[in-house]
């Protein structure tokens, strides 16, 4: 695996550059900067409508030093499958030269967990050579912090606001990685940009595989999470140490933990309390809600560990 220094000093320069209009402390620029640095072959990127697409491609500027295509909100995977099909077709008929071009599609959690799920599911099932990266900041941040299928339970959002009778979003976050595992794709992984080595290693592994791959990356949104901009890296690391967002990968259906905090495991409250979207959980009388979240995290963590343990014993 390439070191951070090696990634930062590539002769061809970086493929995702600054000058974009993302907020200070935004989580996704690091994800795409690192991910593209980890891709050695020529690559085409297809992005869904959302914060990242909007902030990085305001005409006449672009942050993308690789070919970049944006079509609409819910169809980056379908659009990318068209690009990939075109590449193989033009190659087959001798209209272009083989140069080992690879394909990355991305979307935020809205464009992936929700409105783009069908398009993603179809593309994964059809087996295109494509790495789909979901940057998951847990709400429709681009339109102003509306709840999504990725919003954690009891988070405060503008469409599931904390009110006199409701403590924010009432439902649990969808487990998208698990849904993707159900597509029998060769590689699925969960990571954070706060652990650059883990992200780079996973992108490198994904790109070593021909076929559909899926990566979901927790991304901080200081505006939506109501967090300090300087805490971006720390927040994703704490989410991992709280076991709210475990780092793991699923290769050919086999789950494997990438990191186990063991005795460094922190209470989920330590992560939640840094975020304004959860501040109501710390008011007197809401202890039960907090306990509920902790129990949910603990159960999911135990289930994931058991699954990894089970698969580790398989030959």
């Amino acid at each position: 695996m390439a070191t951070l220094k090696e990634l930062a000093t590539q002769p061809a320069g970086e493929k995702f550059v600054g000058g974009h209009t993302s907020c200070a402390g935004c989580g996704y620029p690091n994800i795409f900067r690192l991910a593209l640095a980890a891709v050695k072959d020529p690559v085409v990127v297809v992005g869904a409508t959302g914060c990242c697409e909007v902030n990085t491609s305001i005409f006449p500027y672009t942050s993308w030093k690789v070919p970049f295509l944006h079509n609409a909100f819910e169809n980056s995977a379908a659009t990318c499958s068209g690009v990939e099909a075109a590449y193989y077709s033009l190659l087959k008929s001798g209209k272009i030269q083989e140069n080992n071009t690879r394909f990355i599609a991305f979307g935020g959690d809205g464009g992936t967990y929700d409105i783009g799920l069908q398009s993603l599911s179809g593309a994964m099932e059809r087996g295109h050579d494509m790495l789909y990266i979901c940057y998951d900041n847990g709400a429709y941040m681009n339109t102003g912090i509306q709840r999504s299928g990725a919003t954690p339970r009891y988070a405060n959002t503008t469409t599931a606001p904390v009110g006199k009778v409701k403590p924010g979003k009432m439902q649990k976050k969808k487990d998208l990685a698990k849904i993707m595992v159900g597509h029998n794709v060769p590689y699925v992984a969960q990571t954070i940009a706060g652990n650059a080595q883990d992200l780079v290693k996973k992108v490198e592994k994904a790109m070593s595989i021909r076929g559909p791959k899926f990566l979901v990356v927790l991304a901080t949104c200081p505006l939506g999470w109501q967090t300090k901009t300087q805490d971006t890296v720390k927040l994703t690391r704490l989410a991992v140490d709280a076991c709210f967002w475990p780092l793991y990968e699923v290769e050919n259906g086999k789950y494997k933990l990438s990191y186990d905090p063991k005795d460094k495991k922190i209470p989920v409250a330590d992560w939640l309390k840094l975020q304004g979207r959860f501040k109501h959980l710390f008011k007197p009388g809401n202890e039960q809600l907090l306990a509920e979240v902790q129990a949910e995290v603990d159960k999911d963590w135990a289930d994931l560990k058991a699954l990894c343990e089970f698969h580790s014993k398989q030959v």
Binding site: V46, S57, L69, H70, N71, T79, S81, A85, S89
Partner: protein
């Protein structure tokens, strides 16, 4: 029409869907992304067997929806590939979000589209409500009267859409079941001739060009959006001359010439019906019958609805006394069908203009027959002779 062609064409029996699939085989697109929907299913289905039998080099993307079909076509076309799909009704509606994006990115995707009623209630038979719903999406819209035209139009659509002055997507319609599933004897070009006619596709840009990376589909705000819309609007206007030129060339080479409009016995006519698609064929029969009885009547068939041939329509109808526009859909605007209002608009600034009435007919696949069309002509003749204009918008062939 003189058939001076030396190219030996094959005479075959084909349904509309088979003929369109056959044209696609000869075009041999780089990518086809499609999803089944009645009555267009067969087009992609037949084409799939061409792929499986190795008769084409096409990469077939069997998507999970029409929205993804059009999305994949956009991706393929942005990658410099010749991309096609086929659909109808609900499928076209599901694509609707992506249709204007394909046009704005100037991607010459060509799509056979079988006219079918849009829900609700759900109905699988022919009317033009689907195509009309998407009429302002920046796509060129070519209507076919029969199977022969369906085949010829698909080949021409490639040339028109990919023309350097156009670079816009195009759809070619047939009327659901009436053309799509009815077998007719048609002439098709030899493969090498069809291939030579459509020629090779050279894209203006490609996202596969890694040496010259470009960003496609930028967010385009108040300071640039308008300037980026204008070239597209101009290209649609330019398309009129290109459509005429391609139609003329097709005629010179293969004996079947095409234009934006087809004028049938209109030269000395006093009244006329204006319509699109298969109804034009039925109307020609009625024109012949009534002409034999000495009535000066004619037909104006609109072959290309987008771009709307304003000048040609004004010139063709300006000298007439009375015109009935037949619409196979209601615009739900409170003023009849979309063809009617646009024809009226085309005539409004003409020095001479006929009285214009509108009949909405054939919704949900309701048949239109010779007697109904004859009655329309009879009413027009009365109006011509100074009779009362009566109800401007009326409904034909419906129990009231």
């Amino acid at each position: 029409m003189t058939v001076s062609t030396e190219i030996k064409q094959l005479v075959v029996a084909k349904t509309g869907n088979e003929a369109m699939a056959e044209a696609m085989r000869q075009i041999n697109p780089d990518v086809v992304a499609a999803y089944p929907i009645t009555p267009a299913t067969e087009i992609a289905q037949i084409f799939s067997s061409f792929v499986s039998d190795g008769l084409v080099n096409t990469e077939m993307v069997t998507v999970e929806s029409e929205h993804s079909a059009m999305s994949a076509c956009v991706g393929s076309a942005a990658a410099g590939a010749r991309a096609m799909t086929a659909t109808a009704a609900q499928g076209l509606m599901l694509m609707a979000e992506i249709l204007p994006i394909a046009a704005a990115l100037r991607l010459p995707i060509v799509m056979p589209e079988v006219n079918r009623t849009i829900s609700g209630p759900i109905n699988i038979h022919c009317d033009h409500s689907d195509t009309m719903f998407c009429r302002d999406s920046g796509w060129i819209q070519i209507f076919s009267e029969n199977t022969q035209e369906a085949y010829d139009n698909v080949l021409q659509a490639i040339r028109i859409a990919e023309h350097a002055r156009v670079r816009l997507p195009a759809l070619v319609t047939t009327d659901g079941f009436i053309i799509s599933h009815a077998m007719e004897t048609i002439k098709i070009l030899p493969d090498e001739e069809a291939s030579a006619f459509v020629g090779a596709y050279r894209a203006n840009y490609s996202v596969l060009d890694n040496a010259n990376p470009i960003t496609v589909g930028s967010i385009d705000l108040q300071n640039y959006y308008f300037e980026h819309r204008l070239p597209m609007i101009n290209a649609l206007n330019e398309a009129k001359a290109v459509i005429k030129q391609v139609g003329r060339e097709f005629g010179e080479k293969y004996g079947r010439a095409y234009d934006l409009l087809e004028k049938y016995k209109l030269e000395d006519a006093e009244v006329a019906i204006v319509c699109l698609g298969s109804t034009a064929g039925t109307t020609k029969d009625v024109v012949d019958t009534l002409r034999a009885r000495g009535q000066k009547i004619g037909l104006l068939k609109i072959r290309v609805f987008r771009p709307f041939p304003v000048e040609d329509i004004a010139a063709a109808l300006g000298g007439l006394k009375a015109v009935a526009v037949l619409d196979r859909s209601d615009a739900l605007s409170g003023y009849g069908g979309p063809v009617f209002t646009e024809v009226c608009s085309a005539l409004f600034n003409s020095a001479a203009r006929p009285k214009v009435i509108n009949y909405v007919y054939g919704l949900g696949g309701r048949d239109i027959d010779l007697h109904m069309l004859e009655a329309v002509f009879m009413r027009l003749l009365k109006i011509k002779d100074g009779g009362d204009l009566g109800q401007i918008v009326d409904y034909l062939g419906v129990r009231k």
